[in-house]
C-alpha cells in the first residue's frame, strides 16, 4: 500500500504569470518564496513552497503528496507499475524545480497528474503573508473524478486514504487526522477542482468575503459551512478559472479505529448547512 503522509504541493500552468502573481499576492495572500524565470513559488506555511505557477498550459495541473522515504517511493513505483499506471521517475533537474529530494509522477484512474515526493523542503524563514488573510497553511485539494467509486477505490485500496464522509457517492478522504485531504468532485475529465488553504478564524473567512468582493474576485460558493467537516468556507475564482477555498474549523477524526463514514444526501444542504448555493459546485436542485 502506498502510504501518503501529507499533501505537499500543487503545480499549475499559468497563461499569464504576472496575473497569477498579482492574484496570489493581492487576493489569495500567499508569500512569494522564489521567482525563478518562468516559475513562481508561493508559500502558505513553513514549507518552502506549497503552490507553484509556471508559464504554461493552465490545464497542466499536478498534485504532490509526501511519502516517507526513498525506499517507500521505490515500492510505490513498483506497485503502480504492477497496476499498469505508467510511472515517471523524476530527473534531478525536475527534483530541483519541485524542491524535493526525489519524486515519481503518475496518473490516477481519472487521469489526474499525481506526484509522490520525498523530503520536500521547508524554509527556515517564517511565513510572512502578503496580505492579512490569516492563512495558516495549504490543507487539501478537490480532485476531479469521472468515476467516483473507481477513484475512491484507487485512493483507499492502492493508497492509504480513508473515507471520512460521503456526499452521494462523492468521498471525502483523509490521509491523517484532518477530516479530508482529498475531496473527489465529479467532472468530465482530469483536473484540480479546488485548492484549499486554512485560515485562522471565522472572522478571516468573512473578512476575505468582503475583501475579495471589493476586488471583484468572483465568489463562487459561500460564505458557508460544510456539515461534513464542520468547516466554515469561502470559494472564489482565481486566474485561468481555478477555484480556491479558504476554510477554518475542519474537524479532526479523533478515533481512527472507530470512525465510520457518514452518508449525506446528494443535495445542496449537504454541502452548505447555512444555505449558500453555487451553480458551479453544487449538484442541481432537485
Amino acid at each position: 500500500m502506498i502510504e501518503l503522509k501529507d499533501l505537499s504541493y500543487v503545480r499549475m500552468g499559468a497563461s499569464n504569470l504576472e496575473e497569477a502573481e498579482s492574484f496570489a499576492t493581492k487576493c489569495l495572500g500567499l508569500q512569494v518564496g522564489e521567482q525563478s524565470g518562468k516559475a513562481l513559488y508561493l508559500r502558505s506555511d513553513d514549507r518552502a513552497h506549497t503552490l507553484c505557477y509556471f508559464e504554461g498550459d493552465p490545464a497542466d495541473q499536478t498534485v504532490g503528496f509526501e511519502v516517507e522515504d526513498e525506499s517507500k517511493l521505490d515500492a510505490a513505483a513498483a506497485t503502480l507499475d504492477q497496476l499498469g499506471h505508467p510511472v515517471h521517475a523524476g530527473r534531478p533537474t525536475e527534483c530541483v524545480l519541485r524542491k524535493v529530494k526525489a519524486f515519481i509522477g503518475f496518473k490516477d484512474p481519472t487521469g489526474n497528474q499525481i506526484e509522490l515526493a520525498v523530503r520536500p523542503e521547508r524554509s527556515g524563514k517564517r511565513y510572512f503573508a502578503s496580505r492579512d488573510a490569516g492563512i495558516t497553511g495549504f490543507s487539501h485539494v478537490g480532485l476531479s473524478t469521472t468515476n467516483p467509486a473507481r477513484d475512491e477505490q484507487f485512493w483507499t485500496q492502492v493508497c492509504n486514504a480513508r473515507v471520512s464522509d460521503r456526499i452521494g457517492d462523492i468521498a471525502l478522504m483523509r490521509v491523517n487526522a484532518i477530516h479530508h485531504t482529498i475531496a473527489l468532485a465529479p467532472g468530465r475529465g482530469p483536473g484540480i477542482h479546488h485548492v484549499n488553504h486554512q485560515v485562522e478564524s471565522n472572522d478571516d473567512v468573512l473578512r476575505s468575503y468582503y475583501h475579495l468582493s471589493g476586488q471583484r474576485v468572483p465568489i463562487v460558493f459561500g460564505p458557508g459551512r460544510h456539515p461534513t467537516s464542520g468547516a466554515r468556507f469561502l470559494y472564489f475564482k482565481g486566474p485561468d478559472g481555478m477555484v480556491f477555498e479558504y476554510s477554518v474549523g475542519v474537524d479532526e477524526i479523533e478515533d481512527e479505529a472507530t470512525h465510520r463514514p457518514r452518508q449525506f444526501g446528494f443535495e445542496p444542504s449537504s454541502l452548505c448547512m447555512w444555505g449558500s448555493r453555487s451553480a458551479a459546485l453544487l449538484p442541481p436542485k432537485s
Partner: protein, 295 residues
C-alpha cells in the same frame, strides 16, 4: 451621595419589550412569525403580541399608536419614584401610564417618558413572564430580545437620561455612537446621532454564528433587503445581520455579544465603517450606520 440615594439600586435592569407603531399590523405580524420566527401570543388586549424568550412578550405591533416605544424594567418602586423626581428636575416629559396602558404593556406600573430626542421610553415595574417555554414559529435560533438602536438628536442630553437618571453605563463609543450597558452585556441600548427620533434597529440574540448565517441566506432567498452585514462589531464582539422589516423598521440578529468585566473602561473607536464592522460590510441605506468622511 445621600443616604437615600445609596440605599437605592441602579434603576434600569432590563430591556423588556419593543412596541412598534404599525399601520398594517397583519402584514407586520406575518413578518414577525414567518421571517423573524417569533411566537405569536394570542391575547385579547393586544392582538399582535410576540414572544422571543421566557418573557410573556417582547414585541408588540400596535396599530393604535403613532410612535414606537421601548420598555425598560426599573428595579423597584422606590427607584421608579426617584427616577420620576429626577426626570421632573431635569425637565424630561414623563407621565404615569393609565391602568389600560399598563395592561397593554403587561406590566404593573409604567412611567411613559420622552427622551431629549423625542423617543418614548416606558419605565416599567414587574413586566410579565410566561410559565410556558418559548416555542418559535421557525428555527431561527432566537434566544431573546437583545438590544435596540435608538436615534438621538442630542447624545449629551439623552445620555443624561440614560446614565444619570437610569443608571446605564457607557461601555464604548464609535465616533459619537454610544453603547450603553444596563446589565452584564456590552450593551442593550445604542444611541446613534441622528436628526430625528426613532429606532435604528430592534435586535434579537441568536444561539450561534450558524444561526446568523443561516438567517442571512433565509432572508436573502425571500428577497428581504439586508441593510448591514453579515458583520461583526469590534466593540461588542457580536456577529450581526441587519435587515429591512415592514414599515421602515430594521431588525437584527446577533450572536456573541460580549459580557463586560468590572474593570471595563469605555473605549473610543474611530468614526469609520470598520469600527462598526470589522469584517468589512458597509451599510448603504441607513445614515446612522454610516460615517461621512471628514472634508
Amino acid at each position: 451621595m445621600t443616604a437615600e440615594q445609596s440605599s437605592l439600586r441602579s434603576p434600569a435592569i432590563q430591556l423588556c419589550y419593543v412596541r412598534l407603531a404599525v399601520a398594517q399590523p397583519q402584514v407586520a405580524a406575518a413578518f414577525a412569525t414567518e421571517i423573524l420566527g417569533l411566537q405569536h401570543v394570542p391575547n385579547d388586549l393586544e392582538p399582535f403580541l410576540f414572544r422571543s424568550d421566557e418573557r410573556y412578550h417582547t414585541l408588540c405591533l400596535a396599530a393604535r399608536t403613532d410612535r414606537p416605544s421601548i420598555g425598560i424594567e426599573i428595579s423597584g418602586e422606590p427607584e421608579l419614584e426617584r427616577a420620576a423626581k429626577d426626570l421632573a428636575i431635569s425637565g424630561f416629559l414623563a407621565r404615569e401610564a393609565t391602568a389600560e396602558e399598563c395592561a397593554q404593556r403587561f406590566v404593573r406600573r409604567a412611567l411613559i417618558v420622552e427622551d431629549a430626542t423625542g423617543n418614548t421610553i416606558d419605565l416599567v415595574l414587574r413586566p410579565a413572564m410566561s410559565g410556558r417555554r418559548y416555542f418559535p414559529s421557525r428555527d431561527a435560533g432566537i434566544s431573546g430580545l437583545q438590544s435596540v438602536g435608538l436615534r438621538s438628536r442630542s447624545i449629551k442630553d439623552d445620555l443624561k437620561l440614560w446614565t444619570t437618571i437610569l443608571g446605564a453605563r457607557v461601555t464604548d463609543r464609535v465616533g459619537e455612537v454610544t453603547y450603553l450597558a444596563i446589565d452584564q452585556k456590552h450593551h442593550r441600548v445604542a444611541l446613534y446621532p441622528s436628526d430625528k427620533a426613532g429606532l435604528v434597529y430592534v435586535g434579537y440574540g441568536v444561539e450561534s454564528m450558524d444561526a446568523v448565517m443561516q438567517n442571512k441566506y433565509f432572508v436573502q432567498e425571500r428577497q428581504i433587503k439586508i441593510v448591514h452585514g453579515p458583520g461583526r462589531e469590534p466593540a461588542s464582539g457580536q456577529i450581526f445581520l441587519r435587515f429591512a422589516g415592514p414599515e421602515g423598521y430594521v431588525f437584527s440578529y446577533g450572536y456573541g455579544l460580549k459580557d463586560i468585566g468590572a474593570g471595563h473602561r469605555p473605549r473610543q473607536f474611530t468614526a469609520e465603517a470598520s469600527s462598526l464592522c470589522e469584517w468589512g460590510s458597509e451599510c448603504a441605506d441607513i445614515a446612522e450606520l454610516q460615517f461621512v468622511p471628514a472634508s
